[in-house]
């Protein structure tokens, strides 16, 4: 398949006073599954629509391979797009939907029929070829628009929250299917979603976006375990932020920060010197280790216990006004700490990140 790499250089989009996309630079490899992740209004869909050619950028340029595509109109860009609300052509049958792009390209009838048939088989839609969209389920419609976008052998496959209108079960099923399909045909894919689980599970690399800017680009593991900005740390996973004060600055060894509840946590000296003496320490709820309270150690009081089945969450009060969440794996027969009980805390140094203190 004629797939291509994509380079996005300093792309901006302004709507009047509002900057929706702010000088974004991305480099996407050929065949890569690349995800733009962010909450609504972060500019991810705007960026995708700029790549598709539906709106001109205010600044910057886009290259497919080595070719700048800024002056190529949307219908000549050869990007297959899958829309959030399917955008299936309701007046055309499944076959005509899939054949639409091939016919627009003026391919001979025989070739159209052959490629559509192959695509129907690949997507397991053979028995639905002559149906109208309104007779299909949501998942089937999604497979049709996916087939429609892939059959034209696009340079880049663009997907705008394609699973957000489906129920949970279908969503989980289809994301595996889309991922497998993408690996199989090797098409460069740019995927937009607000669902971090989807992003982490499907992508080769993820760009986390906020306020029109890219906060961090990396593999799912990097994004999850080594967040580089406060935003990424709070957006991905379930994180706690607690204020910390530097109490020791080992010249050669790690710096030590004190946190509410009497905890003393070591931080690499390099990072500490970047951040300064007043800082925030962030960590994931499931990384905190509970034990019996020790004199002089880090302790907290259990303020609330929430039973969710597979997980159990505790709200711990470190000191008045400072609480953190802890997630424990719920096992049968496990004894739950009672509200009001004192517990001891520990945090592996690989699980914590130091950020400059937030303005409060």
């Amino acid at each position: 398949m004629a797939s291509t790499s994509v380079r996005i250089e300093q792309i901006s989009k302004r709507f009047g006073e509002v900057t929706a996309v702010d000088r974004v630079d991305l480099s996407i490899a050929k065949g890569e599954f690349f995800t733009l992740l962010g909450s609504s209004g972060c500019g991810k869909t705007t960026l995708l629509r700029i790549i598709a050619g539906f709106m001109p950028q205010s600044g910057g340029r886009i290259l497919f391979g080595d070719a700048c595509i800024d002056d190529v109109p949307a219908h000549r860009r050869n990007t297959g797009m899958v829309f959030q609300n399917y955008a299936i052509f309701p007046h055309l049958t499944v076959i005509d939907n899939i054949a639409y792009g091939l016919r627009a390209r003026g391919l001979p009838k025989g070739e159209v029929a052959e490629r559509v048939a192959r695509m129907l088989a690949m997507m397991r839609l053979e028995h639905l070829g002559h149906r109208r969209p309104r007779e299909l389920s949501g998942g089937q419609q999604q497979r049709v628009v996916l087939a429609r976008a892939i059959v034209i052998e696009p340079d880049v496959l663009l997907m705008d929250e394609p699973l957000s209108n489906l129920d949970t079960e279908m969503r989980v099923h289809l994301r595996g299917e889309i991922r497998a399909l993408q690996r199989q045909i090797g098409v460069t894919t740019i995927y937009v979603t607000h669902d971090q689980e989807e992003a982490l599970m499907m992508s080769d690399r993820v760009a986390v976006m906020s306020g029109g800017k890219v906060e961090q680009v990396g593999t799912p593991v990097e994004i999850f375990h080594r967040p580089q900005t406060r935003f990424v740390a709070s957006f991905i996973g379930e994180s706690n932020f607690i204020p910390a004060m530097r109490i020791g600055s080992g010249a050669s060894g790690p710096a030590v920060y004190e946190v509410p509840g009497g905890g003393r946590l070591p931080v690499p000296a390099e990072r500490a010197s970047e951040v300064g003496p007043k800082a925030d320490i962030a960590f994931r709820s499931h990384d905190l280790v509970l034990g019996p309270p020790e004199a002089g150690g880090w302790t907290a009081t259990v303020a609330d216990t929430q039973f969710y089945g597979a997980t159990i969450r505790l709200v711990l009060e470190l000191a008045p006004g400072h609480t953190v969440q802890v997630a424990l794996t719920g096992r049968a027969g496990q004894a739950l700490p009672a509200t009001g009980a004192r517990v001891g805390l520990a945090l592996p140094s690989a699980s914590l990140w130091l950020f400059p203190a937030a303005a409060r």
């Binding site: 004629a2 219908h75 000549r76 050869n78 609300n85 007046h91 792009g101 003026g106 628009v145």
Partner: protein
């Protein structure tokens, strides 16, 4: 990148400039030639003097200094305002009862309102003459018992006809307004201790202000610009449109400068009314949308009876002229006198003469309807999908044409196209173009509203798959809108086929239409023939609507 093969049959221009810029340019040229230029020309003529010394306002000074002229403006405003107030007073309660109460004969009421709405106004007026004129059926019958009725002629008659003819505007607007109010609003008011009357005046009526004012505007403009009714029953009571008509078609070739001046005055009033209503409705717009619209409430028998009697009496009176036309088309006629004896003679006589006007009418209507469907859909698309300065300008120009009365457009087209380089006067083309421009804003409005309901992603998907803008419009947008376009076509047809005002100015002997033919027979007092022709016209108007309401499942509110 894979090169995308171009398959369309587009010309080089289309390829280089793009599909929509070319279409936009064509639309602007058409609107400029058919709307802007005619209006500019009549304004220009109205400001031109007979000699170089006279002030540019000389024609207006003449108008406002001679009672013969300015009285027509006062008369027009008087009868139109009276009809507007009356139409609101009778229409609002009727709509409320028909929408909220379990009155008897709701289906009949709906059909009667539609029939009244689409029947040509001048048919209503001469029908009232048949019944209540000096030698009218009811007048003479009652005279035998020594009862004398007030005269149907002059201002009171005009107001009566206008009120009964145009109250459906208010009725339909208010019905649709009521359907956009959620039942929970009324329930909340009731729950807080308001009785029905109090709820109506403190909650429903304020929410209905935009609907009522929109209906009132339509009544006012229709009454203010109507030409057939005042000619038929106005007698010595002269109104502005009739004066224009007289100035334009008098035997000495007419006085286009004076006619233009009058037309500009007419246009000024309608435009002012339109702007006033927009402003007023804007002040009271609350953007209501009903999830669960107001429901029909069961009433106690007496209330139900009274409400039913009121609504049925009103629509019965409005329907009377039409029923009368159909019946009298089967009666022997001796000039204006009808004799109670069944005959098909009227139809036999019109058979000999109907061919030309009938085929003209159908041809002009069909051509104008097709143009409206094509251009209206394209213009709507530009406004909704390609917003920007040009789209906004287009929107403004098209909405302005709402306010341009048929007679003003007629005068404008004549003064623009009666001399080289382009002479269209007396041709079929000028009638078709006039019909087209008259209905265009309605077609645009309906295509705008249907495009706003259509997700843009479907078209984007087509572009993304490699279909150009033109191909996308034809293969995706148009098929998806086909049912909506079809109902627009049926509405345009029904509304165009009965056009009289512009036609009176623009027609020549060879381009006579059915409504002109009826008008002539009425003026010549051949009521039998007029009724037979009128029945044919009513049928042609009503049939598309039957299709619209039954097969396409539209509600009668679609008419306004």
């Amino acid at each position: 990148m894979t090169a995308v093969a171009e398959t369309g049959v587009g010309t080089r221009l289309l390829r280089q400039v793009g599909f929509w810029p070319v279409v936009t340019a064509l639309v602007f040229v058409a609107l400029f030639a058919l709307l802007v230029m005619p209006i500019v020309n009549i304004v220009g003529l109205s400001l031109s003097g007979k000699d170089a010394q006279s002030s540019v306002w000389a024609n207006y000074a003449t108008f406002f200094s001679e009672r013969f002229y300015y009285q027509t403006l006062i008369n027009s405003i008087q009868v139109s305002l009276a009809a507007t107030v009356l139409a609101v007073l009778v229409g609002v309660p009727a709509a409320y009862f028909a929408t909220r109460y379990d009155i008897w004969g709701r289906g009949f009421v709906r059909a009667a309102v539609v029939l009244t709405f689409v029947s040509p106004p001048f048919i209503g007026s001469y029908s009232w003459v048949i019944l209540f004129g000096r030698s009218g059926l009811i007048t003479t019958t009652l005279a035998d018992f020594g009862i004398s009725l007030p005269s149907i002629y002059g201002a009171p008659g005009i107001v009566l006809v206008f009120t009964l003819q145009f109250f459906p505007f208010v009725f339909l607007m208010v019905s649709s307004g009521l359907k956009s109010i959620d039942q929970s609003i009324e329930d909340a008011a009731r729950n807080l201790g308001s009785g029905e009357l109090r709820v109506f005046f403190t909650v429903l009526l304020p929410l209905l202000v935009p609907s009522i004012s929109a209906g009132a505007l339509l009544v006012f403009v229709a009454a203010f610009t109507d030409i057939g009714t005042p000619i038929i029953i106005g007698e010595r009571f002269r109104v502005l449109p009739v004066l224009i008509f007289g100035e334009f078609v008098n035997e000495f070739g007419g006085r286009p400068i004076l006619a233009s001046t009058l037309a500009v005055l007419l246009l000024t009033v309608t435009t002012a009314a339109l702007l006033l209503q927009r402003w007023f409705a804007g002040l009271h717009a609350h953007g209501t949308a009903a999830i669960r619209p107001l429901t029909i409430q069961e009433q106690r028998p007496l209330k139900r009876l009274l409400a039913s009697a009121y609504v049925l009496l009103l629509v019965g009176m409005a329907l009377l002229p039409i029923v009368n036309i159909v019946i009298s088309s089967f009666l022997k006629a001796n000039g204006p006198l009808l004799i109670a004896e069944f005959t098909l003679g009227n139809y036999a006589r019109i058979l000999r003469t109907i061919a030309v006007p009938l085929s003209n009418t159908i041809f002009y209507t069909t051509a104008a309807t097709a143009m409206c469907a094509i251009v209206g859909t394209a213009v709507g698309y530009i406004i909704v999908r390609r917003p920007g300065r040009l789209g906004g300008l287009l929107d403004g120009v098209v909405m302005f044409s709402y306010a341009v009365p048929g007679i003003v457009l007629g005068v404008g087209l004549i003064v623009t196209y009666n001399e080289p380089p382009v002479i269209l006067t007396g041709t079929s083309a000028i009638l078709i173009l006039a019909f087209f421009i008259r209905r265009l804003p309605f077609s645009v409005r309906s295509s705008v509203s249907m495009l706003q309901q259509l997700s843009r992603d479907t078209e984007d998907a087509s572009i993304n798959l490699g279909a150009g803008p033109g191909r996308t419009f034809l293969k995706i947008t148009v098929p998806l809108l086909s049912m909506a376009i079809l109902s627009g076509v049926l509405l345009t047809w029904s509304n165009t086929i009965r056009e009289l005002s512009a036609t009176l100015i623009l027609q020549s002997g060879s381009t006579v239409t059915l409504s002109i033919e009826i008008f002539n027979e009425v003026v010549n007092a051949n009521f039998g023939l007029a009724s037979a022709l009128g029945t044919v016209l009513i049928l042609l108007t009503f049939l598309p609507l039957v299709v619209l309401f039954t097969l396409l499942g539209k509600r009668e509110e679609a008419l306004v």
